[in-house]
Amino acid sequence: MRIAELREFAAIVGQEWVMADEDDRAAYSDQFAADESRHRPFAAIAPASTEEVQAIMKVANRHAVPLWPISRGKNFGYGGAAPVVKDSIVLDLSRMKRIAVDAENGTVLVEPGVGFFDLYDHLQDNKIPLWLSVPGNSWGSVAGNALDRGVGYTSYGDHAARICGLEVVLPDGDLVRTGMGAMSDSPNWQLYKPGFGPSWDAVFCQSNFGVVTKLGLWLMPEPESVLGMDFEFDQPEDLGWAIDTIMPLRRDGVIQQSPSIGNWLRSAAVMTTRDQWTTDKGPLNDKIIAAIRERFKIGWWSVQLRFYGPLEITEGSLRVVDKAFDKKPILSRKPARWVRGDPPEGSPVTGVPVSFPLANANWHGGRGGHIGFSPVLPAKGSLALDQFKRTYAIYQRFGMDYHASFAMGDRSLTNVNQILYDKDDAAMMQRVDGMFRALVADAGAHRYGEYRTHIDYMDLVADSYDFNHGALRRLNERVKDALDPRGIVAPGKSGIWPARLRKNRS
């Protein structure tokens, strides 16, 4: 049906890089989905350069072909490589793998195909003393993760906040560089974020206004030391005071990373399978929770605090933490210490990329997956405790195992709720959908919105941003129509639909 168009794309990227057989279409579908066909693309094309991306835009415009750009397609839990609109053509940028590090200034310019392991290997091979901030699944793209506002464990863990300068192919094929990159050959492109006039970097995060072909990112110079403390808390109710103890240190800048306080299932879901604990179908009961905690020697909640920098500062920071937790009813604490010259610490805390946390897809045995529900709320213990109790009750009501964390940002909490499922259990998948919708409604009633969501729920979540009858969406779609009148770039991404396809909104 679109064979003629595929031929035109092949003339740009080469026949080998137009992939349209059944295996290809399946490989670019959402592999965590119960029904992978729902978001199955028609084909994928894989350009090797910015120039090829520009040429592809021209052809796509001529034929009004919806493209779904992916960096490496590992956005598991949010749809993977799959497009919102079925039969779109995936624009696979994973062949674009150039890396340019500025070791002295601590910056890198990456193309979308560069994965965290690629960049890690590049820094190691070239003995560049810069550290990554990696997400729990580091299989994906450095640029793609930052653009989707992914997070990591170090003080550079707010990845979108470390973006400095983009190169973007606009839907009409025009090429733009943001920030200081707007000046040809500027030495400041990766050094100064705002540029002159409006700043555009954030506009290309979680949007569909263009295709980012290069992304500047700041990297952390290897610190002299990483010191920290792991705290365990015995009772569910400890969540409130724990957050109120840590947040003042976060706000005043003593703690520069985002501590994530999470429950007992985090360890159990990665290290074990459910049938090792129980054959009961319902949510895990208190006896099993106690057994899991005993086995992993963890609390109901756990949190890791980490400090990066010269020993004089990190040791001082630890003393401040000690003082803050003095006489507080913690279950246990364990210090962590790495000093330059020690053997590598070997975890994401020091920027080591990993993939094993994805083993939690196997929690129910069989072929599993997960979906995240992650509303943002004020950084206040009582509100977090209330959010936890309501969410826990919803997990119980739908018979799912509670898996959650609260990540402490500068001023807010992001409550990441993982819903682990068995994709071959149809009844469970029904419950997952019902539960997700219940969670969105519950958060919405408290005026909390999600920071990021799965392709199935982008319209639902966009709907919850309802000020002045959805004025933000109207603005987004006015911009969309101005930049992309033919509606070719990622229609439906983040609930933003081009005029031509707006009737597809769910």
């Binding site: 490989a27 696979d92 360890s267 010259g341 805390v349 994805l358 083993a359």
Partner: protein, 150 residues
């Protein structure tokens, strides 16, 4: 109930403030991982183009502490959980797992690993399969010393 994950932990050494890594001996590789959030550092080195391709495309999940290694350790002798140690892999099996997925392993697209790259990877992964190599001897009709690292 005692699903302790026994996996290889790489002994790493610091060299001039930068990270260098050396492989642990076979005896050292049954290290018990108490805390999953430590000891995840992989050996990313390679000694041939085939191995290099494997490390680049598969290592993140199929070397030390990778998702694939962790899950395979549940299903078979943990000593064989790393694909590079397997003695039963064939090129067809590797190709099928990559293109069609297997258990929790997602399908890998041709954009990520093209057919030529997949061919290099399978050549590397069948290196320990004595049956394949002995068949090759017979085909050549003049057995030579088995070269595992071809």
């Amino acid at each position: 109930m005692t699903a302790v994950i026994w996996l290889a932990v790489m002994i790493a050494c610091a060299a001039g403030g930068l990270i260098g890594v050396t492989a642990a001996s076979e005896e050292e590789q049954g290290t018990r991982i108490e805390n999953a959030f430590r000891g995840a550092l992989q050996d990313r080195s390679s000694r041939s183009p085939e191995e290099r391709m494997f490390v680049e495309k598969c290592g993140m999940c199929h070397r030390q502490m990778g998702m694939g290694t962790v899950l395979l350790a549940r299903r078979m002798d943990p000593k064989q959980a790393m694909l590079e140690r397997r003695t039963d892999l064939t090129a067809d099996y590797v190709r099928s797992a990559v293109r069609h997925g297997l258990g929790n392993m997602p399908k890998i697209s041709r954009g990520e690993v093209n057919d030529a790259e997949l061919e290099l990877i399978s050549r590397y992964l069948v290196k320990n399969n004595a049956a394949i190599h002995s068949r090759r001897w017979q085909e050549r009709a003049k057995p030579v010393r088995l070269e595992l690292d071809d």
